[in-house]
């Protein structure tokens, strides 16, 4: 039994976190947040990401990727969540996943090396289908290629075939755009219903992992602040009302960490309970990220409500991601289908 990250996976984690801490800290994030008209896609960060192989993580080695698994990808996603980092990493990885899973050899050869190297930016449209208007596409405005629903399957739409209109969003750590697509795009021939479901599962796991990273970081920062902040002559963290809330959050965040890790493995290994694992991970991660980021504001007091403080980066990002690919209620509806409507053997 080995349910944990390996040393290599830990190193990957440390590398992403180390880069963000040194080169793209919360001041840099603030720069992106406070420039809402900008593309939210800092060139320096994307260059470093590409050099370190973050977009290449799931691309097979034959297409110049790292050929790693969803466990490694969720390590990166978690670290990016912890750093509330901007940029089109998830969309690029997921577009490459769609092409890996359902693309023709030609499509794979054309796109995978470019997406792996960061030369091309990808996006995944979570809603709508082509032709039509696809709302709230993460980094749709800077994408070279977008994976969209088309009929029952999936299709690629290149930048020349859509027009992007930026959509304002109070989560300034990312950029959203609505895409107007005229044609049906270039079909991904292997996109069966199962493949579409698998792509959604993978997207859901990566969003859950980002939320878990947000939650852990929000909790750690709150603990650190409340250890120092004095009121009534003592650190506020010595008050039991705060202690118990933070202890419960610690348990919850730890469980969400387990759940995201397991879901990533379950999807990669095709375990029989993968669908349940994904729904559990997203429901738990979404809930705990909303709780932890709300607690971050509450247990910082007034300063936590200021624009100057970083609590709102975490809170707003959690708000956005908690709703992606099915919010917690939708995940629970799925869990109910899987555990109530099927009579156990």
């Amino acid at each position: 039994m080995f349910f944990a990250l390996t040393d290599d996976q830990r190193e990957f984690d440390a590398a992403v976190r180390g880069y963000l801490a040194e080169r793209f800290d919360l001041e840099a994030v603030r720069g992106v947040v406070e420039d809402p008209a900008g593309d939210g896609h800092p060139a320096s960060l994307w260059k470093a990401a590409a050099e370190q192989g973050w977009p290449a993580v799931l691309v097979p080695e034959e297409h110049e990727g790292l050929g790693l698994g969803l466990v490694e990808a969720q390590v990166i996603a978690r670290a990016l969540g912890a750093g509330v980092a901007p940029g089109p990493w998830r969309g690029t990885v997921l577009a490459a996943e769609a092409i890996r899973l359902a693309g023709s050899p030609e499509q794979q050869a054309a796109w995978l090396p470019r997406l792996a190297s960061g030369e091309a930016v990808g996006a995944l449209a979570p809603r709508g289908s082509a032709p039509g208007t696809l709302p709230a596409v993460e980094y749709g405005a800077v994408a070279d290629v977008v994976v969209v629903r088309s009929g029952e399957g999936l299709a690629l739409v290149e930048a020349s075939a859509f027009s992007a209109t930026p959509q304002g969003s109070y989560d300034g750590t990312a950029r959203l755009a609505s895409l107007a697509v005229d044609g049906t795009g270039e079909a991904l021939p292997g996109a069966t219903a199962e493949i579409v479901a698998e792509l959604t599962a993978r997207a859901t796991v990566l969003v859950a992992a980002d939320l878990v990273g947000i939650a852990r970081e929000a909790l750690s920062r709150t603990v650190a602040y409340d250890r120092d902040r004095q009121q009534f002559g003592v650190p506020v963290g010595s008050f039991q009302a705060i202690k118990h809330a933070l202890a419960d959050l610690h348990v919850g965040v730890t469980m969400a960490e387990h759940a995201a890790l397991y879901a990533a493995h379950a999807v990669d290994a095709g375990l029989p309970d993968a669908a349940l694992a994904v729904a559990v991970a997203k429901a738990k991660a979404g809930d705990v990220a909303l709780d932890a980021t709300a607690a971050m504001i509450q247990y910082h007091g007034g300063i936590g409500y200021t624009w100057e403080h970083e609590a709102h980066f975490f809170y707003k990002r959690a708000k956005r991601l908690a709703g992606q690919f099915g919010d917690s209620d939708a995940q629970r509806a799925r869990i109910a289908e899987l555990t109530i409507d099927t009579v156990p053997a």
Binding site: K243, A333, T339
Partner: protein, 389 residues
């Protein structure tokens, strides 16, 4: 990531499975069977069955053979926990001994204690009680006042313990006793292993809210115990107790998951029978608790991994306790929601609800014993998160 067990471990699983299927009467797996027996009868039946199981080699899975164990791996212990629940094996009659005392003895006991305690415990020749709580010392265990005065080679013990599980069935009781006159708080306490079959010990049952009498109170009136029957050093009982409680709190998540998951299915079955399984609010509530149960399963895999890597879980055990006990309690609160206005009825539409109610009642206790949830949150906040005391 490797969620499989070794070949040897899987072999152990199939051996255990076949022993269990040959040795558990069908009748025992019927819901409500155990609840239909009186306390003494249930105790006797379970005690004898467990002895036979030990004699067949399925006890003390991870303890060395020289002390009567099987000499297995932590993985085999996890398999044992899972399979016994799955096969509807009866609940152990020696939980305090097996789960808490035995690992403590294995960790810090003398060679003689290991030899004397483990084997007889596995065969249920000695049923152990835990004598920690007193009327004035529960969460604040260090406030205990049961006294031991040295008299030659013995201690003479006076005082009272309460909420003692298995009090009336117990043979011996590991007891926190203040052995240094005038000492206070954590100092001067010893953990003495006291024989309950002597005139100075009087055990009486207490009836629980469920109606059963699984716990009781134990009075010491000049009870004698040889000073060498002390676990850990004399005067160092606090340290011994903290070690022991870490085993209590870190109890097997995999056994609990397996059991609770089956209970979830039972609750769903009732919901279905009552036509309440389609109500979206009900479904959301059930799914919420199922989420926590799945997290418990994953946490158990995490704990097993840490144990196999030789890491000490330390205060993380408080998290394990919080997760399983709170999830279990939530599960049975959902049951009330399922029953709605008929929550207290013994049966509805011919479904006997009493065995389920018994679990629901029991769920109120799990956030109290072994350190209440409030105490676990204090420990987690202070010892894990490092918040100031």
């Amino acid at each position: 990531m490797d969620l499989t067990y070794t070949e040897a471990e899987e072999e152990f699983r199939s051996e255990l499975r076949s022993w269990l299927s040959a040795n558990i009467p069908d009748e025992w797996t019927r819901p409500g069977f155990w609840e239909s027996l009186d306390d003494d009868e249930s105790f006797r039946l379970r005690r004898d069955w467990e002895r036979d199981k030990a004699l067949a080699g399925f006890a003390g899975i991870q303890w060395p053979t020289e002390y009567g164990g099987r000499g297995g791996t932590p993985g085999m212990k996890a398999i044992y926990d899972e399979e016994t629940v799955r096969a509807h094996a009866p609940r152990t009659v020696n939980p305090l001994g097996l789960t808490f005392l035995a690992p403590t003895v294995m960790a810090i006991g003398t060679e003689a204690q290991k030899k004397e305690i483990i084997g007889p415990m596995l065969r249920n020749e000695v049923i152990w009680c835990q004598g920690f709580s007193e009327p004035g010392a529960g969460s604040d265990l260090a406030a205990l006042t049961t006294k031991g005065v040295r008299d030659g080679d013995d201690f003479v013990v006076n005082g009272q313990k309460v909420w003692t599980t298995n009090a009336v069935h117990g043979d011996k009781i590991f007891t926190m006793v203040r052995t240094e006159p005038g000492s206070s708080k954590h100092r001067g306490i010893s953990m003495l292993l006291i024989d309950m079959h002597q005139p100075g010990v009087d055990a009486r049952p207490l009836k629980q809210m469920s109606g059963a009498s699984e716990f009781g109170e134990v009075f010491f009136d000049d009870a004698r115990v040889p000073a060498r029957d002390c676990l850990g050093e004399i005067g160092d009982g606090w340290r011994t107790a903290m070690l022991l409680l870490s085993f209590e709190r870190g109890a097997s998540g995999i056994a609990q998951y397996t059991e609770f998951r089956r209970q979830y299915d039972q609750i769903v079955e009732v919901a279905r029978a009552l036509g309440r399984d389609k109500d979206p609010v009900m479904r959301g509530t059930l799914a919420r608790v199922l989420t926590e149960l799945e997290c418990l399963r994953l946490h158990a895999m995490h704990v097993l991994t840490q144990v196999e890597q030789g890491r000490d879980l330390g205060f993380e055990a408080s998290m394990t306790k919080l997760q399983w006990s709170e999830a279990f309690q939530d599960l049975w609160e959902v049951f009330d929601d399922v029953l709605g206005e008929d929550a207290t009825l013994d049966s509805i539409d011919g479904i006997d609800l009493r065995p389920l109610h018994a679990q629901a009642m029991w769920s109120r206790s799990v956030t109290i014993w072994g350190g209440s949830s409030q105490v676990q949150r204090n420990i987690t906040a202070e010892r894990v998160l490092g918040l100031p005391r």
